[in-house]
Amino acid sequence: MQNLRVLVVDDEPGMRVGVARALSKFRVHLEDFASEFGFVVEECATGTEALSLLSSKNYDLLLLDYKLPDIGGLDILVRVNEEKYDLLTIMITAFASLEVAVSATKHGAFDFLAKPFSTDELKSTVRKALNSLMLQRQARRLAEEKRQVRFQFLSVLSHELKAPLNAIEGYLRIIDEKTAGDDLCQYEHMVKRSLLRIEGMRKLIFDMLDLTRIESGQKVRELKLLNLVEAAQKAIENLQPDAEKRGIKISLHAAESVPLNADMGEMEIIFNNLISNAVKYNKDGGSVDVTVAPSDGGVQISVADTGIGLKPEERERLFGEFVRIKNDQTRNIPGSGLGLSILKRLSALYHGEVGVSSEWGVGSTFSVLLHDGQAFVPSQTLSAF
């Protein structure tokens, strides 16, 4: 149980004792926070005492009489706002005039109780205030976490953008000052490597824009019944030239129509990501098998390649942001390290999951199970950006 600190400010001793007694045994269970709350009540009779207590201790709720002998309740309310105390105020008034209520609310009071009030009225008002206070605090916490995650994301992003810049700059200086001798082949290699790094940067920027659009939820999603086989065909057509250059054969295994309630743009990104990875990380002359089939109330997409495959420890790291598996085989393949993050987030919009099975040196199969899309963006996908 969590104890909340309540300060009751009223010049009538009877009122203070009454409130303290009513709240001392009162318990509130908030379903949303899965916890129970009790109350520790402190009391004082004047505005001066109230201000000194407020500045020296932390309270969660303030029950404040409108009419105090020294400083008016409204003035105290103003101070509470100015000092940004993390608490909610319930005004206690002797006369339930609309005017008082309006001005108290204007000055930041959460609610008000008109004297005389019953224990039940008190409890229900306190319960409402508590719920609201907890929601406020939670929202603040989430916003702070989000800020942290965004900061981390941007730090890593700038690192990922600076790495190729440093590499390209290094090559350009060598070329500029011709420090690698007279053998032109040396310089050709440097130009090729620089172009590859630039391609990687460009891909990173595009992927990041994709990711930002998904995260912000600003992109208008158009959910309608689609034939996923068409989306697959479109992606295959786009990637065919790259595949042909390296003698890689892409085959589609699917019925004529596999319907899903989905956004076309998102489906294109999913297929594009899966199939372009299967081509990129394949062996020359290899093959890519794309399967689209109804499964378990949804649609299962799997893309199998005959590529370089993954070691078990690589597989574990694979889905992290900006993670690229670095080895001799991947050295010349440009990538952003964001493709699978994008895939994972998009799949989440379809209650889906991304799975991978792989054998090192033999090939990998990535599969995504998608269910009918939902119109809202689930909060867990938003939290990461």
Binding site: H159, K162, A163, N166, A167, I168, G170, R173, E177, T179
Partner: protein, 137 residues
């Protein structure tokens, strides 16, 4: 990149670990130009292996490789194995995150075992100067 003018370091071995193959090859040829025999690795685990197996006179490590603190780990292991060899860490972390590492205070020196930390967009000439300074003693 000016070609290293000095070739004073013939017979000395430099350990160079960076997971960016382009930076690795650029620094390698520069260090070779200075006369070093250069042993390279592309990961923390490559680095750990090299530290264990090969004698070296100076080491240059990247900070962020497969782990965010790979460079720190390598510094620590290098100093443990070979306390006399200077260690240079190159990183681009400082300017991006505002995190400040330096090895000028005793406190930071107690946990960062590098002799000098250089920003990644340094010119190679700066690296050369640091190496000359560190190997002078």
């Amino acid at each position: 990149m000016a070609k290293a003018k000095t070739a004073d370091y013939k017979g000395k071995t430099a350990l160079l670990i960076d997971d960016d193959v382009d930076i690795l090859s650029q620094l390698k040829s520069y260090l070779e130009g200075m006369g070093f025999t250069v042993l390279t690795g592309e990961s923390q685990s490559d680095g750990e292996k090299l530290i264990d197996e090969s004698p070296f006179d100076i080491a240059v490590f990247d900070l962020m490789m497969e782990h965010q603190d790979s460079g720190f780990v390598l510094c620590y292991k290098a100093k443990k194995k070979n306390p006399d060899a200077p260690v240079i860490m190159i990183t681009s972390v400082t300017s991006e995150t505002g995190l400040q590492f330096d090895v000028t205070s005793d406190d930071s020196r107690s946990w960062i075992k590098a002799d000098v930390i250089l920003d990644k967009d340094i010119r190679v000439e700066q690296l050369e100067r640091e190496i000359q300074r560190l190997l002078k003693g």
